[in-house]
């Protein structure tokens, strides 16, 4: 049986060859670059990494990237979870309308959305105008060209990515369990927190992790909405190449980013497997 399966696999794998070739085309060059990051002046060396440790600006950039991703992920969970739950509990028509409201930004280009937030949050933009009109502030707030503006833009981009899978995970939950808890005397709040939330745990966890990991790699939004006041890892990598043609420094920083991303994805997967085995 296994041998027959293997024979069948041997016959079908060439069908996947073009796909594998293309994925290799875009991924292998970075593998090559990451090897080169351990070479300086023609010999094996950690010079590219030593420079990162010595130069405090690199640490600031790495910390800023982690901080930005954490802030965005926390807000996305806080806003996205109740939204997915709300959609889940609506009638079919309301749910469809709400899902369309999530789908429209999802299908709108990231660049267009970032541009829109630049306009909305600018110094004499809509938000500042309204806040001044209702007398909440006297002078315009620094909403764009800042950490705050970058966070708002990224939250907007990540929300649909978080809501859609979480909503489908919630749909899989057996609501009879919640009803059973209610009929056994649990209050609504208790049934929600002690039955529904734990059942949605795996979906919530996977979505949060994916949000955080994707945030670590953002480039366009921090570049445009940060206005030079927010430098994340991706921006520094681009700058090292475009402005200084410093492939060693760019690749070393890229390796750091890759290690964090891969470490999170693989480490958490292992943790999940262990928890499930228990």
């Amino acid at each position: 049986m296994a041998a027959a399966g293997r024979r069948r696999a041997a016959r079908v794998w060439p069908l996947a060859a073009p796909g594998v070739a293309l994925v290799s085309l875009v991924s292998l060059p970075f593998v090559w670059l990451s090897l080169l990051s351990f070479v300086a002046d023609g010999s094996l060396s950690l010079a590219n990494y030593a420079r990162m440790v010595e130069n405090p600006s690199y640490q600031t950039i790495v910390l800023k990237t982690l901080q930005l991703s954490a802030v965005v992920t926390i807000v996305v969970i806080a806003v996205g979870y109740p939204t997915a739950y709300f959609i889940h509990t609506r009638s079919r028509i309301t749910a469809t309308v709400l899902l369309a409201c999530v789908a429209i930004p999802f299908w709108t280009s990231l660049l267009v959305r970032t541009y829109a937030w630049m306009v909305i949050l600018q110094r004499n933009g809509i938000v500042n105008g309204w806040l001044q009109d209702i007398g909440l502030i006297e002078r315009p707030l620094r909403l764009s060209n800042s950490f705050l503006g970058t966070s708002i833009g990224m939250i907007h981009i990540m929300l649909p990515f978080f809501i859609f899978p979480l909503y489908s995970a919630m749909k899989q939950i057996d609501m009879d369990l919640v009803r059973a808890a209610r009929s056994l005397g649990a209050s609504r709040t208790k049934a929600f927190w002690q039955v529904f939330v734990p059942l949605s745990g795996p979906g919530l966890f996977a979505g949060s992790l994916l949000t955080f990991v994707l945030c670590l790699g953002f480039y366009v939004t921090p570049q445009l909405l940060g206005g030079g006041n927010v430098t994340v890892i991706s921006m520094k990598i681009q700058e090292n190449i475009t402005n200084y043609s410093d492939w060693g420094a760019a690749s070393a920083l890229g390796v750091v980013l890759l290690v964090v991303v891969a470490g999170l994805l693989l480490g958490v997967k292992k943790l999940g497997a262990r928890l499930e085995a228990q």
Partner: protein, 274 residues
């Protein structure tokens, strides 16, 4: 009965979730509802709501040779990406489905790599390779890179479609003498058509919206639209971009909207028949 069930299970957050949901919807739709009206403004500045309406920025876009050239390149790249990524992704998903044991899972993970890897790493890698291959700023280079980024989406959507496909039908067709390709074309494709079209739409949008890789490899004579927009935005906020953004929003909303309506109708017809 249905209504009673809903009430029992889920009235917990009703009181505060309603205003909350309204705020979230406003937040989600704000960019679209700001950019579209603003693109019809007559002002040099970005004012909202516009005081005088005009098509000035659409003229600025359609009359600009540079913007038109970038649009042509983008559309050419996007359609080529669809033509390449859809069959490549389909056959990869087909292979995954037919592999025994863990091989399929490993291949699936491998093909999804471009989706989870930070795009800046892929971008500098491709740039590094293309410098050596003299493919920087070439259309073929752009299309190959975009196809690689689009393949994971096609693999995901087609795999979901194949999960619902009954492979005994494929076996039946082949035991009756159909070749593998004939069985795919006449038996499988009609049934997974919607997944395939969804994959193709994803491929189109992936290419059309791609910024970071294009920033490195899609300049010169083959500048793509998003690259030109990005560079323009870095210098100043030009209202022409509001007009282009509106057109991009319309393209994606119309394409996806039509697909959703068609697929809903198909699902309903399927349910009626069943």
């Amino acid at each position: 009965m249905k209504r009673v069930e809903r009430t029992l299970g889920s009235r917990i957050g009703d009181y505060w979730l309603n205003p909350f949901a309204i705020v979230v919807v406003i937040f989600l739709l704000a960019p679209v509802f700001v950019v579209i009206p603003m693109s019809f403004s007559d002002s040099n500045y970005l004012e909202f709501p516009p005081r005088v309406w005009s098509l000035r920025w659409y003229h600025a876009y359609f009359d600009s040779r540079e913007w038109m050239a970038a649009t042509r390149t983008s559309l050419l790249a996007a359609f080529s990406t669809v033509l390449l990524a859809t069959p490549i992704g389909f056959f990869a998903a087909y292979a995954i489905r037919n592999m025994a044991g863990r091989a399929g899972g490993i291949l699936f993970g491998l093909l999804l790599l471009p989706q989870v890897a930070p795009v800046i790493l892929l971008a500098i890698g491709v740039f590094f390779l293309y410098i050596r291959l003299h493919l920087v700023n070439s259309l073929i280079g752009i299309v190959l890179a975009h196809t690689a980024l689009a393949v994971p989406f096609v693999v995901t959507t087609v795999s979901a479609g194949l999960k619902r496909f009954d492979f005994r039908l494929d076996q039946a067709a082949r035991s009756l003498g159909a070749s593998r390709l004939r069985a795919i074309r006449d038996v499988m494709l009609p049934q997974i058509r919607l997944s395939l079209i969804a994959g193709a739409i994803f491929a189109f949008v992936t290419s059309l919206d791609e910024v970071v890789v294009s920033l490195f490899i899609a300049g010169g004579d083959n500048t793509v639209l998003t690259r030109k927009m990005f560079l323009a935005l870095r210098d100043q906020v030009d209202p022409t971009i509001a007009a282009i953004s509106t057109l991009l929003i319309i393209v994606s909303v119309v394409v996806v909207g039509v697909f959703m309506i068609v697929s809903q109708r198909n699902v309903r017809r399927h349910n009626d028949n069943a």
